[in-house]
Amino acid sequence: MDRPDSVINFVSVHHVMRAEHVFKEHGLAHEIIPTPRDLSSDCGIAIALSGAVLKQALDLLAGAGVEVEALYRRRGSTYERMPPVSPC
């Protein structure tokens, strides 16, 4: 996997598990991580992935009806919130 510089937050662990299920089905590289403390702690775990596959990931989630709470991009040692990316 390219450097996981993007983080998708979900409201609940159930939503993270649904997202993981969708990504595994489509062979999309990702990693479950503890939600970084400087992000809103929507749920204790989040999904990190490369910005290169972020759009594809969001399309897959939208297709499966998995609601995304927020998106973040790593900037050095901090994270900045990204505007919502509308799926295709």
Partner: protein, 383 residues
């Protein structure tokens, strides 16, 4: 020994249940999703997989609307206490278990909920049209047990759902899940409460409540969910809204193994097996002088549960002799359902309940019939 008390709890459990629980305790152990380490995530995957597998079994599109509970009783309480408010009216069939009737009587006293009981016929069968006719503009809920734990009578819940229209239907599925096909997508608004340790062949202490689209319940319990931790208010999304506290992950691991077994064997094939056993049992019991069999005459409207009385012998004495002399394990008495026993005319002594399961055999049925015939002929209480 013949175990014929599956309506109380199934035995034996499905193959793989004990192994899955042991594996969880020995190898995983962590709290699902609360932390982000590998064991916590693995536990979360088990919970997710169980939720998805159960939702698929029950014909649910959105598994987040299936919440885990300690059992059917908790799920029923969550539904009734979470939905009914002062001035609401609820209609319950006269065959309901105390899991429904006791919280309803509590709500009657505490919240002024009006409880109306719809009398069934003597076989325990509800009349869907009667229920539809009882609905008023104050009716907030109709409660019908999918299959009676006393007589095994299977209720026409799809017809009831049609007759009551937009009023939510609370289905007590304690006896039906795993034993009867259930497709919630074909029903109107409904709540379906189930336990994991009966027809699903899983462990006790775990069950669930399916909350139909458009039905909002106040949570029965509030607390930590591992989500929105910065706030002191309960999150408003499912399943977290109704799942405060560390989940019973070891129970869920066992329930997942059990649900997989039931799914692979298929509910239809379990149903056919149990129906064949019940048909022979019912025919045999009806042919024994002095024995009365309750429930409907149509095996298609029955679970593999037979409630009987034997002339001249109390249910408790009969059950004692069956255990001591014949190693046949049944349950006598009122089965936590006094209203159902009043309905079929067996209150307060109750009946002898013979409840078969997927692992009973045709030979078991013949042995039970021989033993009951022996009891009916001799009618001697144990000394």
């Amino acid at each position: 020994m013949i175990y014929a008390d599956n309506a109380a709890t199934s035995f034996p459990k499905a193959p793989g249940v004990a192994d899955a629980m042991r594996d969880y305790l020995d190898r995983i152990g962590a709290s699902p999703g609360r932390s982000a380490h590998r064991l916590s995530i693995e536990a979360a995957r088990i919970v997710f997989e169980a939720r998805e597998t159960l939702a698929a079994l029950l014909g649910m599109d959105d598994s987040s609307r299936m919440i885990f509970t300690p059992g059917a009783t908790f799920g029923i309480n969550a539904a009734l206490l979470g939905l009914l408010r002062h001035g609401d009216e609820v209609i319950a069939s006269s065959m309901e278990h105390n899991a429904v009737m006791r919280p309803l009587r509590h709500l009657e006293g505490e919240r002024g909920v009006r409880v109306r009981v719809a009398q069934t016929d003597g076989s325990g069968l509800v009349d869907p049209r009667q229920l539809g006719d009882l609905v008023t503009d104050r009716t907030r809920l109709v409660a019908v047990m999918h299959a009676s734990n006393v007589t095994g009578t299977v209720q026409p819940v799809a017809e009831v759902s049609r007759e009551i229209g937009p009023v939510p239907l609370l289905i007590d599925g304690a006896q039906s899940i795993g034993s009867l096909p259930v497709d919630l997508s074909r029903l109107g608004p409904c709540l379906y409460a189930f336990s994991g340790h009966k027809g699903l062949l899983g462990p006790p202490g775990i069950g669930g409540l399916c909350i139909g689209e458009g039905i909002d319940l106040e949570p029965l319990v509030r607390g930590g969910t591992g989500s929105r931790s910065e706030r002191e208010e309960q999150p408003d999304f499912l399943p977290d809204l109704h799942e405060a506290g560390t989940p019973n992950a070891v129970g869920i691991a066992g329930l997942l193994a059990a649900t997989r077994y039931v799914t692979e064997r298929s509910v239809m094939s379990i149903r056919e097996h149990e129906l064949a056993l019940f048909s022979r049992l019912a025919d045999g019991l009806r042919g024994i002088p002095g024995v009365t069999l309750f429930g409907t005459a149509d095996p298609e409207r029955q679970l593999a549960t037979a409630s009987i009385t034997i002339d001249g012998l109390s249910p408790s004495d009969a059950a004692h002799i069956l255990d001591r002399e014949h190693a046949i394990l049944v349950r006598p008495g009122l089965h936590c359902a006094p209203s159902a026993h009043r309905t079929i005319g067996t209150f307060p002594a109750g009946t002898i309940r013979i409840s078969l399961g997927p692992f009973n055999t045709a030979d078991d049925v013949e042995s039970i019939l021989e033993a009951v015939a022996d009891l009916a002929q001799n009618q001697t209480p144990p000394g």
